[in-house]
Structures are given as C-alpha cells and as structure tokens.
Symmetry: C2
Subunit: 238 residues, 2 copies
DNA sequence: TAGTGGTCTAGACCACTAT
DNA sequence: TAGTGGTCTAGACCACTAG
C-alpha cells in the first residue's frame, strides 16, 4: 500500500471522527513528517488528496484548516453507485432485478458507447425500492467482452463490488450527465409514480476502466422527490 | 506564474486544438522534461492537473492517453457560474436584475451561511433569459462585510469576475446541492413557466474564499427542460 | 523572526508495457 | 531489455502569517 494513501486514509478517519474538528488546524507538515516518518512530498501528496476531496483548506503561513463538510450533509461526490450511497446514508433498501439478458449492440447504443454494432452486451434493469416504493430505476448496459458473466445474484448487490473484487477490473473514471425528462410508459410501468409525476431525473453515465475502455453505460432514473445530488468543487482559475 | 500551471495550460490548449487528438499519447515524461526544461516532478504536477480535469488517463509502462471529452459534449464541471457557462456554450442571453437590496441576515439565512444574525447582506435576484424566456432565476445572498458595494451594472455581468478582478477576492471552493422541488408563486411570477410546469431544479451553493470565509449563498432555479449538468469524476478507491 | 505552506530540483528504486 | 509511469527521498529557496 502507498504511504501517501495510508496517511490520507488515516487523516480522513481522524477528521471524520472529529479528532481534528472543523475549523481546527491539522498538525503542520513538519509535524506530520515526524509523526509518520516520511518525507515532505509524501505528506504533501496525502494533504492534496484531502484538499481535493474537500476535507481541508490550506493556507500559506498558517496551516491546513479542517472544513465543515456537513453544511449540506454528506457531500458524497464523484463516482459513487447507488449501493454505496445508501450504505453511507443508512437508507433501508431493496433491489429487484426486472430484466437481465444478453443483447446485440444497437446502432444507438454504439453511438453512445462506441462498442461495435452487433457485439454482445448485457442489458440489466433494476428497481430500487425505499419503503416498498420503486423510486429509482437503473438501466445498465455492460460490455460482455469485458464482463463475460453476470449472475443475477451479483446484480442484486453492487455491480462495482463484483467487478472490482471478483473480476479484478479497475474502474477508473466516468462521465455523467444529469437532466430532467418526461416519463414514458416503459418507465411509468416500472416505477412507483403518481399520475401527477410527469417528469423524472435521468443520470446518464459512461464508466471507464484504467485502460480507457468503456465497459458500462447507465441510465439511473429517479423520482423527482427522491433525487438529491451533492458535490464539492474547487474553483478552476482560468 | 507557476511552471507546472503554465505547462498544464499549454498542454490543455494543445489537447483542445487536437494537436494531441483523442486516443493519442502525449510525449513521455522524459520528453516533456526536455521540451519544457524542467524537472520530472514539475511535469508530473502538470500531468496530474490534466488527469484530474479528465483530459488524460495515465498508464504505467505506456504513457498518457488523451481522452475524448466530447461524449456528452462539454463537461464543464466544477465551480462554474451561469455567465461562464453560456460563454463556453455560445448561448445568446440576457440578464435582468429583478431585485437588489441590502437586508439583515435572518435566522434562516444564518443557519445556512453561519453569518451573524442581523448582520448585513446583499440580496440579489436575477432573471436569465434565453430567446426572451426566463429559464433560470438566480437568487444570491452575499456577505456585505466582504462585498461592501454591489453596483447593479456588475450584477448584470458576472459576479465572479467582479469579485476576482475588481475586488481582488480569491474564490476557492463551493459546496453544491441539486434537487427538484415544486414551484411556488414567487418563483412562478418571475419565470416563464407553463401551467404544466409544476417543478423546478434548484441548485443551491455555498461559495467560499481562500481563507475559508463563506461569502455567498445562491439558489439557481432552472426550468426543467433547460437544465443540464455534466460532470467528470474519478473513482475514489475505498 | 520563526514557522508555515508553495515550488522546484536531482536522484533513486520499483512495476508495468512493449518488443 | 529499454522505456514508461509510480513512489519516495533530501534539500533548496520562496512567500506568507503570526507574535
């Protein structure tokens, strides 16, 4: 394990546990060098991860100030799947696999994913229930050349966990798009909607591996009243 | 100017101009060291910025692969304001200041921003028009202790530009939240909505300075059909 | 003035990819 | 095997903050 990653995780835990409470200062870089017995650059790499994740703000001549992340509750930002999200938020849940089959890549899917037309892909539709109501509908398309097997049992749990821990895939990055669109019949049939619900939030994402291969295209469809997206962003000076 | 920042901007331009087209490799770190006449760490800092911004993917033993950012058009992610967004997307626009006045911080606003109750703040409401229709309504609250003057002319343009270039403030980071909520009368009166429009997207954000002072709280209210959020995210290995 | 973080360098060793 | 990126070190100088 990398030193700087370990130090990052250690400091992150201490910030979460309020050992370093909001508004307080972390130990200085020199102190951290002593504490962890590493060089300055290694400490600085760890601090940079904390900074980019929104845990701290650094100030020259002063130190690293711990930020209060709970203004909007948990900024669970970045690349996170439904499963991880609800675990972090302790939402009771239930997932039902509505459809799971192999399909041939259509021209439309090709346009989005760049997978060869007529090559094999998995199509997976899952209903996400909270308090018995289907509030999220996940439609996933997976490259069958990369994921040869997709047991229904795994689909019920976390796909990412299955890919990373059992298939040894290295998920690296994703492009996402959030829009609001009218509901159609297909969606209405699979979700718990009232007649008044005319729109849904659609989160589309293309997910890539370490080697830049796109292996997943997803449409995560949310009922308006259950949708919430929280993010932390640093200003990009132009 | 920092060396690594200059190198980042230079490489970014070359990627945008397709001098380094998608799927191609950047020059190796050793070559870049020669080209820019700097040390390896400096090159690596620049490459890291490119990586975090979603421009490249690095692969051990191979090189830095240029990614195709245009799958979902422009991932203008992070901390960007309406003004910058539309410039980047060449959207013709018009901004109308509907309200601009000093107010005393209410307990409710205090709870969100942590500004002292009864201290002074600016309240600014702006209507953003596209093709003559008000599709975005921006409600901003600004700490008057930090921003003493707020000329209406500046409000019509970009607030961020005014703060950074004229007031010398260093905007650093923001927390954002995106939800969908029912429209109320106040909003309906100020936007171009049909009777069918029952909901709007609300992007709430708290914006902070370099020294961790919160100076702005905003609610950006979007008509459903005009809302779109694009993002790039790297997997955070847990 | 002492201590802090910000930048940069030069060099080392490792793991991975090509061939 | 040669070349690539990944990690880590030790040391230097600078800019900023505080007492």
């Amino acid at each position: 394990m990398n030193k700087f990653r370990e130090i990052f995780l250690d400091l992150e835990q201490k910030i979460i546990n309020k050992e370093y409470p909001p508004q307080s200062l972390l130990p200085s870089e020199n102190q951290l060098i002593q504490m962890y017995g590493v060089s300055r650059e290694t400490i600085r790499k760890a601090l940079n991860l904390l900074k980019n994740a929104g845990y701290i703000q650094k100030k020259q001549g002063k130190g690293s100030i711990v930020l209060d992340m709970n203004r909007f509750d948990f900024p669970i930002s970045g690349l996170t799947s439904f499963k991880e999200l609800q675990n972090a938020q302790h939402i009771p849940n239930e997932t039902h696999v509505a459809e799971l089959k192999k399909i041939a890549v259509s021209p439309k899917l090709h346009q989005i994913t760049d997978w060869p037309v007529a090559s094999e892909a998995w199509k997976l539709i899952r209903q996400r229930k909270i308090d018995g109501e289907v509030v999220i509908l996940d439609r996933d398309y997976l490259n069958a050349g990369i994921i040869p097997l997709l047991p229904e049992k795994k689909a019920q749990d976390s796909l990412f966990q299955y890919f990373e821990n059992e298939l040894g895939l290295e998920i690296s990055y994703a492009q996402k798009e959030i829009t609001v669109e009218p509901v159609n019949k297909e969606i209405r049939d699979l979700m718990t909607l009232t007649p008044e619900d005319q729109h849904v939030v659609i989160v589309r994402s293309l997910v890539y591996l370490e080697d830049t291969r796109c292996f997943q295209y997803s449409e995560s469809i949310h009922r308006l009243d259950k949708f919430r997206f929280v993010d932390f962003a640093r200003r990009r000076r132009v």
